[in-house]
């Protein structure tokens, strides 16, 4: 499923900072699918997702010097760029096509709806992975992952104690790891 890891994160960072196209290609090959999913979850259109993903990678390349590993993982940094770009895009293009008149709250609830009925699972083809994951775990993970919700915000949104959210995020990822190891 994954390309064999050729670079450590440290190597990747210093190579790309030096302008290494191969290392950047590796960054694309390994992370573009995940970032695509993140953006798609927010904008809900393949065509727009492709445009945004393209801009996100160009942005990553041009702004790579601003990445500071003291502030977090490289993947986390890219994740933030993808999320913010997608959210900015939906906000600025609210009057476009089926996103008409949606506020960011509406977008979130739209995403929630998608989790409630299994409609889109086939489209994103996660059946294998998701069948092993409880729906409540999945909802929590997706809110944090694709929407950037903090644990406090998830607790508030789903009306469950903060402690429970923390446990469930952890349980969900542990379960994911088990599934992926198989």
């Amino acid at each position: 499923m994954l390309t064999k890891i050729k670079y450590t994160e440290e190597e990747l960072i210093s190579l790309i900072q030096g302008g290494d196209r191969d290392a950047f290609e590796y960054l694309y090959d390994n992370y573009s699918k995940a970032l695509y999913k993140v953006i798609y979850t927010i904008v809900a259109s393949n065509e727009e997702t492709e445009d945004i993903l393209q801009n996100v990678y160009v942005k990553i390349w041009h702004n790579f010097s601003t990445y500071n590993k003291e502030k977090g993982r490289l993947y986390t940094w890219m994740l933030n760029i993808a999320r913010n770009s997608a959210i900015d895009y939906t906000r600025s293009k609210q009057n476009k096509t089926n996103l008409q008149n949606r506020t960011s709250d509406n977008i979130v609830s739209e995403i929630d709806k998608r989790y409630m009925n299994d409609v889109n699972y086939d489209h994103i083809g996660l059946k294998n992975v998701l069948s092993g994951l409880k729906k409540e775990h999945q909802t929590i993970i997706d809110l944090a992952y694709y929407e950037g919700y903090t644990q406090e915000e998830i607790a508030q949104k789903l009306n469950i104690p903060l402690g429970t959210v923390k446990t469930k995020v952890r349980q969900a990822i542990i379960r994911l790891r088990e599934i992926l190891v198989k």
Binding site: R21, V58, K59, R83, G125, Y145
Partner: protein, 268 residues
């Protein structure tokens, strides 16, 4: 001990998901440096999340990758700053900029206000000057209008065929004294336009008389200043005059003429 409770707290997950606070991030960084197991754990979490999102049969079209590399190789610069970069600007620095900008704006605005105030002062002085000038010209115009109307009525009077011009002369043919009277026989209006007479002594005034059916009729007193030849001075209305004469009388006039003091006379 610290390690296990941290790992099981869900902090590392939220660190990788990018939802941890700045303080928590710092804490995780510290732990990474201290315990290699933490980094291993973080990498495992990251890989699980990466695989979770990458899983599936949707492939990103090759054109996306091609476009990205095309843009990068073209060295295209995108001035649009990323939201992540914006977040990294320290808040305190922003405050400093904001304060500096405010102060600069205040100074500029103060200067602008002073300049505006001076301009307004100057303008209001100008306006009051212009108003005065305007009043002066309006007054002048009114005067001109009045004198024009008078001229018009004079012309109308003079060109009336019923208006007769009577030249009054002194009995001594060598004398240069004289006067000019305009009398309308139909409307009975009487005017004196010119009186070449010596300045009357103090307490004295010239009086015009008309002789009607052999009797003198008072036509009113007049001042020399009003009979310089440039306009018409209205006198009392007279009907059926045969002769006009001017006598020197006490100021205010006399009911009967003092014949000895007759200056000039002339027949109609």
């Amino acid at each position: 001990m610290e390690l296990n409770s941290i790992i099981s707290s869900g902090l590392l997950e939220s660190y990788v998901l990018g939802t941890s606070t700045a303080e928590e991030t710092k804490q995780v960084q510290g732990l990474c440096a201290k315990y290699p197991e933490v980094l291993v754990e973080i990498e495992a979490i990251e890989e699980a999340l990466l695989t979770y999102a990458s899983a599936g049969n949707t492939d990103v079209p090759v054109s996306v990758k091609e476009n990205i590399f095309e843009k990068i190789n073209a060295g295209q610069i995108f001035p649009e700053p990323s939201t992540v970069i914006k977040k990294n600007v320290p808040l305190r620095k922003l405050y400093v900029y904001a304060i500096a900008a405010s102060v600069a704006f205040l100074v500029v605005s103060l200067f602008g206000n002073i300049i505006q105030y001076m301009k307004v002062q100057k303008t209001s002085t100008e306006i009051s000057l212009l108003n005065k000038e305007n009043e002066y010209y309006a007054e002048q115009f009114k005067n001109q209008q009045t004198s024009l109307k008078m001229m018009e009525s004079n012309i109308a009077l003079l060109s009336d065929p019923a208006t007769k011009v009577i030249r009054l002369k002194n009995s001594d043919p060598a004398s240069s004294l004289g006067a000019v009277i305009h009398w309308n026989s139909i409307k009975h209006s009487t005017y004196i336009s010119l009186a070449k007479l010596p300045e009357p002594p103090a307490g004295k005034q010239y009086q015009l008389w008309a002789i009607v059916d052999g009797k003198p009729v008072d036509a009113g007193v007049f001042d020399l200043s009003g009979a310089t030849g440039s306009n018409l001075q209205k006198m009392k209305e007279i009907s059926g005059a045969q002769v006009f004469a001017i006598t020197l009388e006490n100021k205010g006039g006399s009911p009967v003429p003092t014949l000895s003091a007759m200056q000039v006379s002339g027949s109609v």
